[in-house]
């Protein structure tokens, strides 16, 4: 995702090391130069870059890398560990109160995405922690900011507390607390106006809001695309408010997101959540470990697994698998499967989490619209045709009718037929595959190669795919 390009650069630097039997100190220095440039290009603050490369270099040397069997892998490991450390070690979600109300204040520069994040956070807390959230609109300056939050509240069916734009935000905030007092609301999010960190009047105001409500958490919302300035922004807000954490937004873009790295390092404030897209559920806990892996191009299988288990009913999935394996897979299943995928979010986003796929998808534009077209095609088939894929294959007039009914071309219908065929083929292959032969670093490759490796009559696990 956002860190793709950074990982490319690092991988490039690493590649020069691979194949070498041993690394000299000069090798390491050269690699650190690449790492330095790469991090600078990724907008990591130059002070952070300095300390990062220095400590990686020391560690790489101290690990007696010269004696290792595979020195380049050791360096990768050191860089990975350092990055993970830099990003904040372990996951840090905030402590929710078991009883009573948790209050959260969001703050940040203009345009960093506070209001959208407020909606996302509220929805996340309701879904993950069964909280009853209340959104409080404190941005009385930007035109229609209150309305934006009210609209989001309507979309999510979450209550919004607002007093228009004529009252002082600290007063509105206090009123909101009073209002929530005798309700069963247990999670309150205060959406404040965007402000420049050097604007003393506005910074005074947010301090006033803070002392009026004394929130449990003060979260700084930071745009992942921010440049070198990220550090001074974070420092100013932190000094004024004692920020308890941050949320990085717009990580679904192609920014390398170095701002996140430096923010964490310089302020020691943990990154708690990340915003990943336009949809209101494109939001997740920030995982330093996963992000570090992602930086090094190891993919993000953990997030993918989380998404799958969250959105897919297990028995549904098992049924589907059985069908696939038995070769009785038809268009109804195809449709169901697509709906499952769509529930998990954008296709492009999913693809990038699979190791080895980030490179493949870089140039291939994954277009979510395609799924809509496919759905239209299938929905234009009769129930019989859906159950028995052969009918379409045999009759050109059926294919023409489906194309017309869905507003697509006959060639699209043909593509769909091929697609289904390929899937059936692939699953047949998979069911014969030996799970031990799957290369974890590149499952796609093993999937393509597996049938060739398989020799007839050999192998203990023949004839059954293990879950």
């Amino acid at each position: 995702m956002a860190f793709d390009q950074l990982s490319d650069r690092l991988q490039m630097a690493m590649r020069r090391m691979t194949g070498k039997a041993r690394l000299t100190e000069k090798d390491i220095e050269e690699m650190m130069r690449e790492v330095r440039l790469s991090l600078l290009e990724a907008d990591v603050n130059f002070k952070v870059v300095k300390s990062f490369t220095k400590s990686v270099k020391e560690k790489a040397l101290n690990e007696k890398i010269f004696k290792g069997l595979n020195p380049s892998q050791q360096v990768v490991k050191v860089v990975h560990e350092e990055l993970k450390e830099l990003l904040g070690g372990d996951t840090s979600e905030f402590a929710l109160k078991t009883s009573g109300k948790t209050t959260v204040m969001l703050t940040g520069l203009q345009g960093s995405g506070k209001t959208t994040t407020a909606g996302k956070l509220a929805s996340y807390m309701r879904k993950k922690h069964a909280k009853k959230p209340l959104l409080v609109a404190l941005d009385v300056y930007r035109p229609a900011a209150v309305e934006q939050l009210v609209t989001l509240g309507k979309q999510l069916n979450i209550e919004v507390f607002e007093r228009g734009t004529n009252e002082k935000p600290e007063k509105i905030a206090q009123d909101a607390l009073l209002y929530a007092n005798d309700k069963d609301i247990d999670f309150i999010i205060f959406d404040t106006a965007g402000r420049l960190h050097i604007d003393t009047t506005m910074m005074d105001e947010i301090v006033k809001i803070k002392s009026a409500i004394n929130p449990d958490e003060i979260l700084l919302v930071l745009d992942a695309m921010t440049g070198q300035d990220a550090v001074s922004v974070a420092e100013h807000f932190h000094t004024a408010l004692g920020v308890s954490g941050s949320i990085i937004t717009k990580l679904d873009g192609d920014t390398r997101g170095g701002a996140a790295l430096s923010l964490r390092q310089v302020t020691q404030v943990p990154i708690k959540f990340m915003g990943l897209g336009e949809k209101l559920d494109d939001f997740d806990v920030f995982h330093p470990e996963r992000m570090a892996s992602r930086i090094l191009g190891m993919g993000d299988v953990l997030t993918l697994i989380d998404k799958v288990t969250e959105n897919v009913d297990e028995s549904d999935m098992m049924n589907m698998m059985e069908k696939m394996m038995s070769g009785k897979y038809n268009y109804n299943d195809f449709l169901k499967q697509m709906k499952m995928i769509r529930r998990m979010g954008s296709l492009g986003g999913l693809m990038k989490m699979i190791p080895g796929m980030s490179k493949l998808t870089k140039n291939a534009n994954v277009d979510d619209k395609q799924l809509v077209y496919l759905e239209a095609l299938i929905q234009s088939m009769t129930e019989k045709e859906r159950r028995n894929p052969d009918l379409l294959k045999r009759s050109s007039s059926r294919r023409r009718r489906v194309a017309q009914g869905s507003g697509r071309r006959v060639s699209d219908v043909n593509k769909l037929i091929d697609n289904l065929d390929q899937q059936v083929q692939m699953f047949k292959r998979m069911s014969k595959m030996d799970p031990n032969q799957i290369d974890p670093s590149n499952p796609m490759k093993s999937m393509q190669q597996a049938p060739r490796k398989q020799k007839k009559g050999k192998g203990k696990n023949r004839g059954g795919f293990r879950f």
Binding site: D43, I198, D223, M225, T255, R256
Partner: protein, 321 residues
């Protein structure tokens, strides 16, 4: 010091540059005063010095490649001219900056708004300040005597239409909208037919913020652009990328991809009043040759200026010349 003196001889020019000086006060204090210290007389010119100069420029988000080639040039010059005193680097830095960015050509930052119906399209990623910028540009053009209409093309983000409407009321100009969720291209189409009938001079078209790597949204933008061009020959007369001055290297990607899709005629650099250095503007100019036309220097309706790259560079370096 002759070169710089010559450039800023006229009093008028000095006064105008003063505005940038104030707007960018913080930048200079934080970043370029460091440069001032580095270039004190008596400091030795060595690798450490070059690296520190490198870092000062990188701090300004000027783009790593640009900075590296620039510092390399400095190295070569130092060797060639046997320069030993750090102070002598001042003039070389500023002179090279001017040569690099100002070049010989005169950059026209005026907006192309003198057609029967001029269309200005504002594009950019989320949260850079497109709507606010349209408000300020509308005010600027009204002052110049134009009949302006804003077009609410962001039908996606909650509250975006109303945000623009409030700006139109502040400015006192016309406003065109369709319900939230409408196809933005159809909004443009209808706005143009309305404008043709109602004697409007300039259309300012807002669009939804979109990250440049979202293929679908970029296709949507391409369609918007196409529909406008189909209705009015050579329109949109200006397609302006709104760029947040705090943006880092990603600004380059933004400029590159938006340019591919819509053919940009200029950049509006917003939020330059913060500690932002907006060095990315120089990188965009250098690599894509797209000029910055306007800069946003605050939240007020008047806080918008035509950009002058000479003044900008002067603002950056006035402490060291």
């Amino acid at each position: 010091m002759g070169f710089i003196k010559k450039l800023f001889q006229s009093k008028q020019k000095k006064q105008k540059a003063q505005k940038y000086r104030i707007g960018m006060e913080k930048t200079r204090r934080n970043v370029f005063s460091q440069l001032d210290e580095l270039l004190r007389s008596g400091n030795k010119i060595d690798d450490d010095l070059f690296e520190e100069i490198e870092e000062v420029f990188i701090m300004a988000d000027m783009g790593v490649d640009v900075v590296l080639s620039f510092v390399n040039y400095l190295r070569e010059t130092v060797e060639l001219k046997h320069i030993e005193n750090a102070e002598d680097l001042r003039e070389i830095i500023v002179e090279e900056m001017f040569k690099k960015y100002v070049k010989e050509d005169i950059v026209d930052t005026n907006l192309d708004v003198d057609h029967d119906l001029s269309v200005l399209l504002f594009v950019g990623v989320n949260g850079v300040g497109k709507t606010t910028t349209i408000g300020k540009v509308a005010h600027l053009l009204q002052q110049e005597g134009k009949r302006v209409m804003m077009v609410a093309g962001d039908t996606f983000r909650a509250g975006a239409i109303n945000q623009l409407r409030i700006w139109s009321e502040r400015v006192g100009c016309e406003f065109f909208e369709k319900p939230a969720g409408s196809d933005p291209s159809s909004v443009m189409f209808d706005a143009i037919s309305y404008a043709k009938k109602h004697d409007i001079d300039v259309l300012l078209c807002d669009t939804a913020g979109r990250l440049q790597n979202k293929a679908n949204l970029m296709k949507e933008l391409e369609k918007i652009h196409r529909v406008i061009r189909r209705e009015i020959e050579l329109a949109p007369h200006e397609t302006l990328l709104v760029l947040d001055a705090t943006t880092g290297q990603n600004g380059m990607n933004q400029a590159k991809i938006f340019n591919e899709v819509t053919h940009l005629t200029g950049v509006v650099l917003t939020k330059l009043d913060g500690t932002a250095k907006g060095g990315i503007a120089l990188a965009v100019k250098e690599t894509l040759d797209i000029p910055v036309k306007l800069v946003g220097l605050g939240e007020g309706i008047e806080d918008l200026e035509y950009f002058d790259i000479e003044e900008y560079i002067y603002g950056l370096f006035s402490d060291i010349v």
